[in-house]
Structures are given as structure tokens and as C-alpha cells.
């Protein structure tokens, strides 16, 4: 594989219960490409966490997964409220999710930390009132 492959998804901000469709699709696509199972697990979980974040906080957004020879990149972009303090948001247990979301088992303040845990690289570019872009990558050695 010499050229990169991009998978694009629009994440529906209205439908919390079906969130995860993009991640499950990514998992299938990566399996077809013969990516090692542990990498697939890392990428699809990080992607799901990002998808859930966009649904909870930003009314949806878009996701691109770019598979190249030596890495898999995930770019998540939304036009939500932005994150005022990224460092605080990265702390395990810190959450601004509403109670309705917590009762479904989310909002534990583990989403962003999980994304970082499973990815080799992660940057968050957020402007309050404009939106957030999260870029993540995992290396294929």
C-alpha cells in the first residue's frame, strides 16, 4: 500500500443511541485492509470516544480516517462550543456531560484520556464558540 486511503464520515448529532456507526465501519474497513487486530481495537475505540464527544457536546461533526503506509490518522472536526481549558478536559474524571448522558454510562471523564491512551499522537485545537479539531495518529511499524 503506497497511497493513502481516506474514509469520511458525518457524525449525526441528534442520534445518541446510534453513535458508534462510524467507528464500527472503520473497524470493518481496517480489518479488510489487514491491519493488526490490536491497532484496529485502539483506533476504533479512540474514534468511538471522539464520536460520542461530538454527539454529547457539539451537535455532531465530521470524521476522517486516513490510512497510509506507516500510520493511521483520525481527524475529528466539529463546530460546537469549544473547550475552554484543554488541559483540564484531558484530566481523567473531569466531565461537563449532562446527567442524561451519565445515566447511559457515558460522561465519566474518560473519553479524551482514553483517546490519548490508545493513540501515539494527539493534538486538540479548540476555539471557544467556534469548534474543536482533534487530530490523532497511531503508527504502523
Amino acid at each position: 500500500m503506497s497511497e493513502s486511503l481516506t474514509f469520511h464520515f458525518d457524525v449525526d448529532g441528534e442520534d445518541f443511541t446510534s453513535a458508534g456507526q462510524a467507528s464500527v465501519q472503520v473497524k470493518k474497513n481496517l480489518r479488510r485492509l489487514g491491519i493488526p487486530p490490536e491497532i484496529i481495537r485502539q483506533v476504533s475505540i479512540a474514534m468511538y470516544e471522539g464520536e460520542i464527544n461530538m454527539v454529547i457536546h457539539a451537535g455532531g461533526g465530521k470524521a476522517d480516517v486516513i490510512v497510509s503506509e506507516n500510520k493511521i490518522e483520525i481527524i475529528l472536526e466539529d463546530h460546537g462550543p469549544g473547550i475552554p481549558d484543554v488541559e483540564l478536559a484531558m484530566q481523567e474524571g473531569y466531565s461537563t456531560a449532562p446527567d442524561s448522558v451519565r445515566s447511559l454510562g457515558f460522561g465519566a471523564g474518560m473519553g479524551l484520556p482514553n483517546m490519548k491512551r490508545y493513540m501515539d499522537e494527539m493534538t486538540i485545537d479548540s476555539v471557544v464558540g467556534k469548534g474543536t479539531t482533534v487530530k490523532m495518529a497511531v503508527y504502523l511499524s
Binding site: P37, Y48, I52, L104, F106, A108
Partner: protein, 108 residues
């Protein structure tokens, strides 16, 4: 030990078993979904009381062998259909989470 064998030996009820021959390795207990995705390992039995639709995606992405709903928790038919479609095994236990975990521990 397969999911089907575990279900029989522990007297769990089968709610969905599209992949009963799946091998089990270890167990994880948790209701916070991100926590489960961060800590559960591939082929674990996942014991939880969460029964909303999101557990199917979590089980599928975290690659657990099966979900065991403890404490007599039930699950809607629409979610069971989704589980069958996505290849996610769901077992039901009338026992409390602790006793469910003990039964799993003694069996696997």
C-alpha cells in the same frame, strides 16, 4: 472455555448468542462505558447492569467475548436484534453482580 459453555455452567439465560463458540479469556466488570473501553481486554467476559443500545457498540469495539447483564437486568428486543446482527453475545444473570462474578471466576 467458550461463551456457550460458560452460559450453561453458570446457569445464565441466553438473550443473544450469535457467536457461542467464542473463546473466553478473563473478566471485566463495569458500568461506565469509557472505563470499560479503557480497561476491558479482548475476549473478556464483561459484566454490567447497563442495558442501553450503546453496550453493543462498546462490546464490539472492545472485542469482549460476551456481555453478562447481572442483577436480573433485562434488555429490549430491538437491542437483542442489533446484538445478533453485530455478532455480540448477551447472557442474563439473576444473581447480583458479585455472585455473578464469583460464578464466572469459578467456571473459567
Amino acid at each position: 472455555m467458550t461463551v456457550k459453555e460458560l452460559s450453561e455452567k453458570c446457569n445464565f439465560k441466553t438473550a443473544a448468542m450469535p457467536d457461542g463458540d467464542r473463546e473466553i479469556d478473563g473478566c471485566y466488570i463495569g458500568d461506565l462505558l469509557s472505563w470499560v473501553m479503557g480497561r476491558a481486554e479482548e475476549n473478556n467476559v464483561w459484566i454490567t447492569i447497563m442495558s442501553n443500545q450503546n453496550i453493543i457498540a462498546v462490546a464490539s469495539l472492545a472485542d469482549v467475548a460476551c456481555i453478562v447483564l447481572s442483577e436480573g437486568v433485562t434488555v429490549e428486543d430491538s437491542i437483542l436484534r442489533l446484538a445478533e446482527e453485530k455478532g455480540v453475545n448477551i447472557l442474563l444473570s439473576d444473581k447480583r453482580t458479585y455472585e455473578t462474578a464469583v460464578a464466572v471466576y469459578e467456571t473459567i
